[in-house]
């Protein structure tokens, strides 16, 4: 049996250090945005959260491919946790985005902004991941179907963004274009450190969640081995891989 949460300590320390540096950079180093002023500081938390969430969804799909290829259930667990964490980060991205919209446009929700809208659609789709898992009883089938869903939904993420972007004019405050072209160096640096910090946080929590899940699975297995199958059944069905 491997140890739970291997490498978690190093990862946590790196995360804390990076996020501390990022916060310091955001509030003491990065210059005020010429157009948006202080409100633009939301950008350093909102955009990394959203980017990491979207990457998490896609990674969940890739891990699901590994599951279907190998048939090894550990990949399903990884895919599940990747999507689970991405959902949490996505909620953060949505709320902070909404706050930003309220501050700069005066409305909590702006339909004219394709990035916000497509992000909402992606969230709505992935929000069905857990109900889907939960309503399939057989664990093997649950893992397989969840992987199929994760692959389809992961591929849907970029498609959806293209479609919604084309449907509406581009209104999102492109403080940072994908090429990073128009961003002053100091803001770019701050953003990069923030993104790294959030990504590290994602990795840490992913690891932590996996460790917790594996410990629980091990506990359940021990129970079953020691007390027979009905003892473990009492724990109830779950949407999580088992």
């Amino acid at each position: 049996m491997t140890s739970y949460g291997r490498g978690l300590r190093g990862l946590s320390v790196a995360t804390i250090a990076t996020i501390t540096v990022a916060l310091a950079l955001v509030f003491f180093y990065a210059p005020l945005d010429a157009n948006q002023g202080f409100i633009q500081k939301i950008f350093y938390i909102h955009v990394p959260l959203a980017i990491v969430a979207l990457c998490g969804f896609v990674v969940g799909g890739l891990l699901a491919i590994a599951h279907l290829r190998t048939g090894d259930r550990k990949w399903d667990l990884r895919s599940y946790v990747a999507i689970h964490m991405a959902l949490i980060f996505g909620v953060g991205g949505l709320i902070t985005g909404s706050i930003w919209a309220k501050a700069s446009w005066g409305h909590w929700w702006v339909w004219s902004d394709p990035t916000l809208v497509s992000f909402l659609i992606v969230m709505l789709l992935f929000a069905t991941y857990q109900p889907l898992r939960f309503s399939i009883e057989d664990p093997e089938r649950q893992a397989r179907y969840a992987s199929v869903f994760a692959i389809v939904a992961g591929a849907f993420v970029p498609l959806n963004f293209i479609a919604v972007r084309m449907a509406q004019g581009v209104v999102h405050p492109r403080v940072l274009t994908l090429t990073g072209g128009r961003l002053p160096g100091s803001m770019g640096l701050t953003f990069a450190v923030s993104l790294l910090g959030i990504a590290l946080l994602y990795a840490t929590l992913w690891n932590y969640e996996i460790a917790a899940k594996r410990a629980r699975m091990q506990l359940r297995r021990l129970r079953r081995a020691a007390l027979g199958d009905d003892a473990a059944g009492a724990l109830g069905r779950s949407a999580a891989p088992s």
């Binding site: 945005d33 010429a34 157009n35 948006q36 002023g37 202080f38 409100i39 500081k41 939301i42 938390i45 909102h46 959260l49 949490i88 909620v91 953060g92 709320i95 902070t96 706050i99 930003w100 309220k102 501050a103 700069s104 446009w105 581009v170 209104v171 405050p173 492109r174 946080l201 929590l205 932590y208 969640e209 917790a212 410990a215 629980r216 506990l219 021990l222 129970r223 081995a225 020691a226 007390l227 027979g228 003892a231 724990l235």
Partner: protein
Amino acid sequence: MTGVFAVAPALPLHTAGPYVAAAYIVFVALILIYVAIMARKQRRTERELAQLRRDLHLPDQVRPADERAPEGRPQTELPQERIA
């Protein structure tokens, strides 16, 4: 692009401050909620572990193999060190 910013002029600090604070508080709150949920799960795991120990009568150093096994089930011998 510039049109958007013309509609959304820069907010003075005292108006923008609460929004920025709110955004970062949301972030911290999400992490704290996550930690709280994980703590609850951790407690449940601990409780189940304790229950398992009780079921196996582990606190007694040596487990008499004959009568302590729950009846009606095939008794599985677990090496002590795997559980402890």
